[in-house]
Amino acid sequence: MLHGTAPPKEEVQKGERRLTQRWRQAKAWLGQGRRPHLFSILSVAAGSLLVFLGPRSLVAFWLFLAAAYISYTLPTGRKFKAVLFAIVLLVIMPILGLRNIFYLELAFQISVFAALALGLNIVVGFAGLLDLGYVAFYAVGAYLWGFFGSQQPFLLHAIPGTAPPNTPFFLPPGAFYPFLIFGIAAAALTGLLLGTPVLRLRGDYLAIVTLGFGEVIRVLANNLDKPLNLTNGPQGITPIQRPVIPAELQAGLNALLAPIVGHAISIAEFYNLFFYLLTLGVIGFIIVVTRRLDDSRTGRAWSALRDDELAAVSMGVPKTRLKLAAFAAGASFAGIMGVIMAANRTFVSPESFSFMQSIGVLSMVILGGIGSIPGVIVGAAVVLILTLQVLPGISLVLGSMRGFNPVFDPTKYQRMIFGLILVVMMIYRPAGLIPAARRKRELARGEIDEVGNDPEAEA
């Protein structure tokens, strides 16, 4: 990609060298003794304070993110970082989020999609199976709680929209907690059911079949309002129950938090906080599971299968069982998040499970770094901040400009963004923002093989 307007090469190099030298000096100065620890704490505290004082300021929010990023990169040691991030996520985030509830919603969505992306990462990144219908498993979880957590079991013979007003709920709200586990099980089972027939297929056929499966689930959700009204059709199921937050807990928390936040906390905000903390717990669990899987015998077998199926099988790797395991594990993450999402929104409808959602999750994985756990989480965060905050911001600016006919509303062009992310990342940085070590090596090997014909032929 050379262009004619570039300045002379030497000058650029010299300038770059000077800059990198400065940068290196600054880094070296910061890296001594206790300085990085102090700097991390200070920058995070300053960022938090800024957001606390200006809860609606975009600049403050971005500085806060930058501070978090800087303290992630500084050489402070794992324990220190873990403690710092635990404080940020468990103490600072809730307070800032209660100041501006949008941040809590954003953090909740990032956690949900990070979990989805981590699940897809197991299938695509670890096992190398491209799944284009991943949200189907999310839908399974969501509809599971959507069905059992609402009045729907009593409305099996009712035409959508004609529910009698005093229909009771089928289960008590506390059933939500066991259903988190049932969601995992149901989605994993669906993964096994889909996987059993199709896992013999080659990579690109598998992609199309999973795409078809995703559409099948969506069509079923859309049309299973007859002969038995299971899904309430295109209207979706609502209301869906949420677990009850005890009144005493609310009062206690309100007494504690209201002076800090500056206003009394409403029940809706309590639910935001509750779901934020719940997903945080779940995603923590998922991260641990994923890390352990990646390092395990299973994880190594997955990457062996991904890199060279024939060789792996002849070394005695049980191909079908492992591929099924990857499908089931990936699906189960989506299942639990589906249950949580259904309870959070108190509403499920087929529209939330379109092909575009699958591609959205895929682009999070690709952007962050296929196979890389921190990468995938960062990918989810970047994509969601982009679609939930940056794009609406741009369209607000465009809309407020005088004389500009707002035909172009960037929030409505998510496909374009997902598409661009996929293409650009594939061409310029196929290993993602934070590449996984294994993936990097694999792609480097691909480049060497380019002289020959088909390094991919074994796939």
Binding site: G128, L132, D204, E215, N223, V407, G419, G446, P455, E456
Partner: protein
Amino acid sequence: MRRLTQSPLLREILRPFGQVFVFVGISAVTISSSLISLAFLMRNSYANEVLFGKTGQNLPTYVITNLPQVLIDGITVGFVYAAIALGYSMVYGVLEFINFAHSEIFAIGAFVGVELLILIDNLGILAGASIPESYLFLFLAILAGMALAGAAAMSVERIAYRPLRGAPRLVPLISAIGVSFFLADAIRLTESVTTGQFYRVFPTFGNFDELIELARMNVFGIPFNLVIQVKSIVVIVAALLMMVGLSTFVNASRTGKAIRAVAQDRPTASLMGIDVNRIIAITFLVGGALGGAAGVLFALKFTRIDPFVGFFPGLKAFTAAVLGGIGNLVGALLGGIVLGMLETAAGAYLSAFTAGAFGAEYKDIFAFAILILVLIVRPSGLLGEQVGQKA
């Protein structure tokens, strides 16, 4: 006569007609006979009672009286699928890669054709056009659709696929999915900025909407007319011409020979002095042009198009290509016809056979079920060679 049939060019022109005839015949007979026997098997079932209550016909009579119309509609849809499937199959044959963006190339063709016709319509010539003139305009629209879609396919190959040649298999596929998403929204953006609408409607002109009565019959004392729309005939004829053209091009021209050589063995073809990059670009050009023409035909048949119009036909056409044996052009034709017929039959009869529980909305699921079944039972498709994975 003998010398005539030995001329390769003529043989290539004639062969597709024979194949189409055989495929349509076989699949029509198979589908009709299995439907009729199923109907007779179920003539005492609950579904029969429900149907009788609704229409006053028994299941077998219902099936038989509707069958010719269903078959004709199925063939029309099948030819559209086949025309799109050819593009998938050509690219797959050469690069062994699913060109996911082909469905959007198809949509580009549809939009270019329809926009051109709307432009002509706005000039005021279209509404009063005589029959030959209206066919000329349609021809122009198809040509424009082909040209732009072909150009778009070539640019997509140059920008998004060529830099990835030789990368692991999933890399170009993901890039293709990205291109597909990007193009769908790019069409939407262009349309909404220039016209303020997301969808366009094929203008009414010529005699395309007229019905031609093929036969007037009397079955079991129930009279019914077998009709076909003029535009269905246009679709079938145009798709046939495209196939003949493609078959001639691939099998009887020098460039076609080079395409086959590259498909067979890329490095060796390159050693023999074939410019592989050029051949791949030509493959995309031809495949894209076919997709564009199919897009205009689709718009003619189904009238309303939107930027996401390519998604389902594209998926179905891919299914058709796999069904027939991907990489095999004749297979794409066969797969398209079979899938079109099966799907139309499912749409027409599913409700009758299941006592109204499942309706035509499940026909998409039906198509995917066929895809999965074919891939499991016969992964190389109906006409694909039974070889293992290319190592």
